[in-house]
Symmetry: C2
Subunit: 187 residues, 2 copies
């Protein structure tokens, strides 16, 4: 059962209140390009992530705004920033890492919300049935190639509003020499 | 069959001619700390790796000097530098990437020698026999944990002069949330 791979670079989701602090009152995210997930887009807005140890510039804000602010980074980023975010599914932010987000008009210190995203597959309920994955929370996926392997703990993110795709962070992608559009095999 | 993991950050091996150009005539590498592999050490010497696109500072030179100059980086580093080094075993440098190495006293543009190291296990001939690995060029290794999995194409580097250890680059380590001294399982 093959699945296309999308590589997620570090990025930020913002709630409206934080968007306004960072970019100014009544600021609206401007679409740079559509993402594969319906309705989701990459915006022209960039922020800096900052800690006592270091900072990472030009981190993209994804749209649309959400009901929570979430910062998704890789373990490599986490070492650079000197923080230890947990591995979490999107929206599961309790006791995740604190970080300072700096925008052109202001900054926000979130007390929690910085995570390393779990490996996950966006999938339709109909595809869950079609592939016999009912009742499964997660699967293993085989990655081919010179630095391939089998990755475990790949969560199934079931939604009527999804484009079938495996999302990996840049650490997983670079470790396995995977690029956007490469193919994995659900085991 | 368990094996301890050593994480290899980007580093450089130098031949004497290049060491002298980079650090001055008759320069001798000064030991900073011993590595687990007998006779190998981390030195106090640092260089910069440079391309048209970017540069990486404070890259450590390992000792002792070798008969060839070799630069080992990760895929993440390769993206930053805008180069595409092949995945190679140590010493297998034909048609590998060119890079500029800059030291305090001079610089060397190597025409080839920059690689991404294969995943590999240093192992004694007696351990090959003990573990029944005779005739195998490579193995698969299971990594446990939240972002675990099975990594393939792990080369067996058999030598009388070795300390039994699995070497992973920082991409593999960070993708799998592995630190120095963590344990893998040879399958």
């Amino acid at each position: 059962m093959k699945v296309s791979i999308g590589v997620s670079n570090r990025h930020v989701h913002l709630k409206k209140e934080h968007l306004y602090i960072l970019f100014g009152n009544d600021y609206e995210l401007e679409k740079k390009s559509d993402l594969n997930q319906p309705g989701q887009f990459s915006s022209t807005a960039l922020v800096t992530l900052k800690t006592n140890k270091s900072e990472i510039n030009n981190v993209r804000v994804l749209g649309p705004v959400r009901s929570y602010t979430q910062v998704e980074i890789s373990k490599t980023d986490a070492y650079k920033l000197g923080i230890n975010p947990p591995i979490r599914n999107s929206g599961d932010l309790k006791n995740s890492s604190s970080i300072l987000i700096v925008g052109p008009k202001g900054s926000v210190q979130i007390e929690e919300g910085c995570i390393i995203a779990t490996r996950h597959i966006h999938i339709l309920p109909s595809q869950i049935r079609m592939y016999g994955l009912e009742g499964k929370e997660k699967v293993n996926v085989k990655i081919s190639g010179e630095k391939g392997g089998i990755i475990t703990n790949v969560y199934l993110k079931v939604s009527e509003d999804s484009y079938f795709e495996l999302h990996l962070d840049t650490d997983d992608a670079n470790a396995h020499l995977v690029k956007n559009g490469d193919i994995g095999e659900i085991l």
